[in-house]
Symmetry: C2
Subunit: 697 residues, 2 copies
Amino acid sequence: MPTNPDWVKKLKPAAPQGTDILSGERAKSNVNVDQLADFLFTQKTLQQREELVKILSAEQVFDKSKNYFQGREDRILGSLARGKRLQQLTEKNNWPTEKFEHALQLISEASPLAMHYKMFMPTIREQGTPEQHKLFLEKAQKFEIIGCYAQTELGHGSNVRGLETTATWNPEDKTFTIHSPALTASKWWIGTLGKVANHAVVMAQLVIKGKVLGPHPFIVPIRDSKTHEPLPDVHIGDIGPKFGFNTMDNGFLLLNNVKVPHVNMLARFSRVDPNTSQYIKPPTPALVYGTLTYVRSTIVLESGSVLARGVTIATRYCAVRRQFQDLDAKGKVGENQVLNYSMVQYRLLPLLAATFALHFTGRNMITLYEENQKRLAAGDAPGGSDSQRRPGPEELNAGGDLLADLHSTSCALKSYSSTIAAEGLEVCRRACGGHGYSSFSGIGSYYADYLPTVTWEGDNFMLSQQVARYLLKSARAVLTGKASDNDTTRFLKNFLKRQDVGAAFDVLGSDTELVDAFAWRVAYLTFDALKKRDEEKQPWNSLLVDFYRLSTAHAQYMVVKSFRDALSIDSTTKAGLDQETLAVMHLLYKLFALYTLEKESTEFFSSAATTVKQIALARKQVMKLLEEVRPHAVRLVDAWKFPDWQLDSSLGRYDGKVYEDMFYRASELNPLNEVVFDSNPNSPHLLKKDNRTKSKL
Amino acid sequence: MPTNPDWVKKLKPAAPQGTDILSGERAKSNVNVDQLADFLFTQKTLQQREELVKILSAEQVFDKSKNYFQGREDRILGSLARGKRLQQLTEKNNWPTEKFEHALQLISEASPLAMHYKMFMPTIREQGTPEQHKLFLEKAQKFEIIGCYAQTELGHGSNVRGLETTATWNPEDKTFTIHSPALTASKWWIGTLGKVANHAVVMAQLVIKGKVLGPHPFIVPIRDSKTHEPLPDVHIGDIGPKFGFNTMDNGFLLLNNVKVPHVNMLARFSRVDPNTSQYIKPPTPALVYGTLTYVRSTIVLESGSVLARGVTIATRYCAVRRQFQDLDAKGKVGENQVLNYSMVQYRLLPLLAATFALHFTGRNMITLYEENQKRLAAGDAPGGSDSQRRPGPEELNAGGDLLADLHSTSCALKSYSSTIAAEGLEVCRRACGGHGYSSFSGIGSYYADYLPTVTWEGDNFMLSQQVARYLLKSARAVLTGKASDNDTTRFLKNFLKRQDVGAAFDVLGSDTELVDAFAWRVAYLTFDALKKRDEEKQPWNSLLVDFYRLSTAHAQYMVVKSFRDALSIDSTTKAGLDQETLAVMHLLYKLFALYTLEKESTEFFSSAATTVKQIALARKQVMKLLEEVRPHAVRLVDAWKFPDWQLDSSLGRYDGKVYEDMFYRASELNPLNEVVFDSNPNSPHLLKKDNRTKSKL
């Protein structure tokens, strides 16, 4: 590795030092960082985090210092090595799943082994029979087989019913022929497939006697367990580089009339009678949405900390970075911290507020989901991990009111929270100015890796249709007096009762009425959409933009409500949050709610939830709140307790040694500084270093 | 390279084929693609484009097929080889600068030689004396020296006055000592420095007898012209990987008391008398903004085609891609083209409209700039390429009204247009669904490469302060009756005259009044900000968010106005645009203006430029316009005439062979498919292929 000459080693950043600046920031706020961290995560999780960082950062295989410099092959190899080692550690120490997943979070990269744990094994567990568990799951647990979940095709993503791969039943030898009839039938984007898996759960159209019965899961061996070469009539490969997620071997898979035995169709719910060739349908297709709802709830919860990672980095760096003097400052006062500029505050601090808002909302979703699961526990909840399917309306009907409400809520929140987190990360990156563009900011690659979340588990735009469908259905039920009592129907009824009287919410003075104003707007948009669809008979397609707005409004209502509820006397007293810390959290609540209201102001005054005057006052209030939150910003991001090892960011270091770290990585870790290039157009060579072959132009 | 088995080679995408779909799209619109292309670019440019693509695509060195797969070192080497070869071609064929730059555009990557042409040579040309031209410029032209422009430092970006590098005058031996006094003084982000340049123009604080006289340019030799190794007391390196722009060798540079002779300070404007050690100041510092304005105008012009590239790819792919049936469709009609969904139209088609709007606006800016230059031609316009400096208010005062107006306009438009283009590219990428995330979409890396534009040549948020400063100054002049007559003062005066009467613009019925409504909103925001600053004495810092909104509003007004003007009878008749094509362009104008109005609706009704009712109608009208533009979408993007070779995108191919190309690149070009990994955690190995060393875990 390159080294710096002595005169360079002696250089320090110009004063004041980042470390002193951040200490100063921490001294001027009384936010209780540890208390707040406990409130967010619990003591137990925080201790586990420390323990894991200690274990992982001590091992060479988990070293992150080369990651930003490596090409794709090395990234995958490194990530595979870490995946293997983590598996060994987990087995050796008998870590529970939760701890294993916590470690993955700290390593912070997509592991090419991930789909084996996350999709292959759960699918067999949930959709396989006890016989299939014995045959496949036990081997998978011991890594005798490694699998992936092959659903998406080159020509079909969201629309699972359009999949082209077929699984044709052969009664004569009791097998299925799995086949890719066209190029567009190639499985595509399948994680863990490109280089790693030797088995796949393949979603294919079941065909019995020429009749197509929809997509079903089949276990297909794809690589030789010894040589790891593809099996005959199986064509596999990595699909190439992506915008991010490049440690993952997303792959393609084509099958040329590959036969698998009857037992390879996962048969807990649907199955084929091997003797009569009869297709046996699943009992109640409705309840599959439990799993879907759970997966989306975890995305909501995760969105808070995803965004918090970017906000932590940007807040610390904007505190350390100084640029220009304040224009109104008298005399020579030195340059101003970038975080003092109101434009920077306006970009960053509402996102800081959003991190907490999303975290509390996600936690709320998980609690609701768990309560619901308990209620359902009496019966067997069929379904499974078919998490990319879109439910049809008839399925929603059958699922019961609470599940339908939860399903709709999870759709709206998944769509909204992942959009905020993804776009917020990019706002954080830009708030870091020029250095935000360096890989060492730690935001760019993290953002790029996170981006698929806006598309998978239901595309964020597609999902909004399901939210609208549910709200329209609820509104119809309210109008016909057939609605069951839940939060949604209550605010819809309230709107109907009061719409002519008017609302007159005191959005600036009352926390409760602020939430009510958000509910009112959802009700207004719901009945507006209902009128267009049911009375004016407008085509579904022409209403998609209205539906997206409606879904966003619904999500914003729930996030604002969850944030307020999280700060209730009950929950904060239980958590032992002191008054000063709680007061700052309350500022963040107001900031998030009023900032959102201001951004969406057209819908607030169109629905008469607020007056135009209130919007102007909200705008003013937001600017005031930014000033009030500013002194606490560094402590508030500290409460997220990201270890430096996880952030892997020069700009976001806890100790503020921003410039030292940037320089260290560039000058001492950068392999490009080991070679010398010949740049002269008159010379035919490109490389000059002796230890390399001269590369010809 | 890997090859596909025969049974795979025989596979085709499921019907209908992309080629047929795009032919169908082209058949159902009468937009005259060639006419429109001429109107955008002129015949001459289009012919040059064809000629260049033919030349470049024929040479192996310009082959793009490996780009998406290569690591950073190979990317820089490849790009350096192309830079050298392009230089040879340019010399051999005696291409004018414009043709050389056109070729760079088609190659579409940041060349590590770029700063030699773009900054090093122009700086010497503009700021050097004839003696210095002879000494440095002539050698630079012959590549005897290769240079870069070293201004930004690790600790200082936007604020050039804060630079720490010093150049101390030594009267005894008539030299300057160039020195980096701190780590934060390290030059940073400097293109062409990391691996390529052997000279740098270093911006350093001139110090004479202990007095600091501000940043000045010095030519400093940094690498040995033979060995290419750094010279003594010079520490250089590449700053490491970035979010994009990875073909560029952005570098760092530290200098340890390096002496250069008197002649190395570029001395056309400021200079040091070598005998008396007197500092001689530049005559009129005001006029440097000519160059700045020009650079920003080119960014505005470029933003149209940058965005058009993403829109072309997304529009073609969304026409080819089919997903789900229309919910209201009766019977089996097959899957719907994604472009038919109103939510997709709402995301893409306003951006399609914006591509033209920005292009016409940029052209307009360039014309204004050139007219202004002619007027100034009488006197000598000093200044130069110091394009990252921020002018102080006193400099703006001195620059004359027209230049000040042009400068402000270029700031507002640079900020707005590059924001729209950058964010629009990401909207396009997501509109491509899952495949948008693949590098083969051709959008992701292009977006990442474009992103620095929102930060350089004036950070988009910083610039808005200059716009506000100018508008406030104009408003003060209007109020005191001292305003000169220009477009800005006219709409400010009009607002003052009519503000109590009201506006009542017919934004839906009249093109002219639609423009007037945008001007009215700017005037309203200007006087509102003026009141806060001058009457309420609010601190400058507290108004930055207002200023950003004001700057955006001003830019939107100018873009809407430029679009309308470009479609005037005069210009379109001259260009020979037929009535049908013009009518479609007119739809795009309405779409852009009303979509923007709807998005910014709060400011339109707060300012009473429109009523709330009009906003609702505008929303409805936008949905109608989307439907009307839809059939012409493919032809409209065709008019941008991007060669496939330039787009380098599977999804954006002119012939619609999307899936064939995705599969070809993944299966046949992907080097990762040549190696076999050992994924089993029980095995200590990572690689299995015989021709590679087994890599240990």
